[in-house]
Symmetry: C2
């Protein structure tokens, strides 16, 4: 199982500083959606240039113009780009077309999708590399949210999936047991007093 | 009925050039999602600075972290910011909180929402300024797309709405008859040989 750090910071400078600390312990470096909207594609380019050996994940959360948005992100240096599961199939197909052209991959973020299992299978059939079983920052704060549902959905869908939203040192073993391809940690790393130590601890918890 | 130009260009330079041509003929200047992802918040600031008397619309298409994303866009100069109708209620409420703080407004983009009428009423109740009856660029290219459905949904919902995706000189009268608050024209303006003349012609078609 790979470890992905989600960088929910707002400036390229903060992203570079965080990535510099945690890169040795992670496989995938994610630029969060607010960071990309705040800084633009130059943030992607800066992170890829600083960490050419890492998989750079641009969380574009594309809802429309799938081919165009994915194309400009891949051209800027992204290796993986997200499209929303609530987007139409033609948007996902467009993004996959761009990924194929660049020899890169599309990840479908299932945030907000009611039936994540069915949609997961549909988008893999459309050419997505993997799906993200994801509870958003807002969703995690809602009453009734359970992390276990994400794991159960991933296991049931039986396609390649990552898990995001609630991954920390006490849950990461369960994520691996559920069969996830990637565990995504955000606040558990960037919210820690020592992000490098937090990332190293998560890495050590993967068996 | 107000006229909004959707600038689906990819650089701040092109956006400033287009806005400079069409501003005299429109009420609302929209920065498209790919433009914001490409250039970041600085694109919003540049347009607001060049056109302080116009309503600047940032098509963020927020799916998560509603308060944060809206807050940074309003701080950068946006007057209206979009959240996706497929986002959870807590994301919409968060964005409305940011809008209230700044004395600005949230628009909910109903792209990808199956039952647009019901969702329109729900998000207006949550505090959205108006909803966007919207067929995306990808959706418009799909078989079976009909512009009339957008107008019918707006009329049936009986809340304040804009229409986007297929507005041009031959359809804008129907948009007004359906009771729209705002007509959004994208390709009909930026794809024209003479964008200023195209915007003027659309304006003249509003009675």
């Amino acid at each position: 199982m790979k470890l992905q750090v989600a960088m929910d910071v707002l400036t390229t400078e903060d992203a570079l500083a965080l990535a510099g600390k945690v890169a040795p312990h992670v496989d995938i470096i994610e630029l969060g959606t607010p960071l990309i909207k705040a800084e633009g594609l130059r943030a992607i380019t800066a992170i890829k240039k600083a960490h050419p050996d890492k998989i750079v994940f641009a969380d574009l959360k594309t809802m429309d113009a799938g081919e165009l948005e994915a194309d400009i992100a891949f051209s800027a240096g992204a290796d993986l780009v997200t499209v929303l599961g609530t987007a139409g199939d033609s948007t996902i197909v467009g993004a996959v077309t761009a990924a194929t052209k660049h020899g890169k991959g599309i990840v479908v973020d299932l945030i907000g999708v009611a039936d994540k299992v069915t949609r997961a299978r549909e988008v893999i059939a459309l050419g997505a590399e993997f799906v993200e079983m994801h509870a958003g920052l807002d969703e995690q704060a809602e009453e009734g949210f359970t992390f276990q549902t994400l794991l159960d959905d991933g296991e049931t869908a039986a396609v390649s999936f990552s898990v995001a939203g609630g991954v920390n040192v006490s849950t990461i073993a369960a994520v691996q047991r559920a069969g996830a391809t990637v565990a995504v940690a955000g606040g558990a790393i960037y919210g820690a007093d020592d992000p490098a130590a937090a990332a190293a601890e998560l890495r050590a918890a993967i068996v």
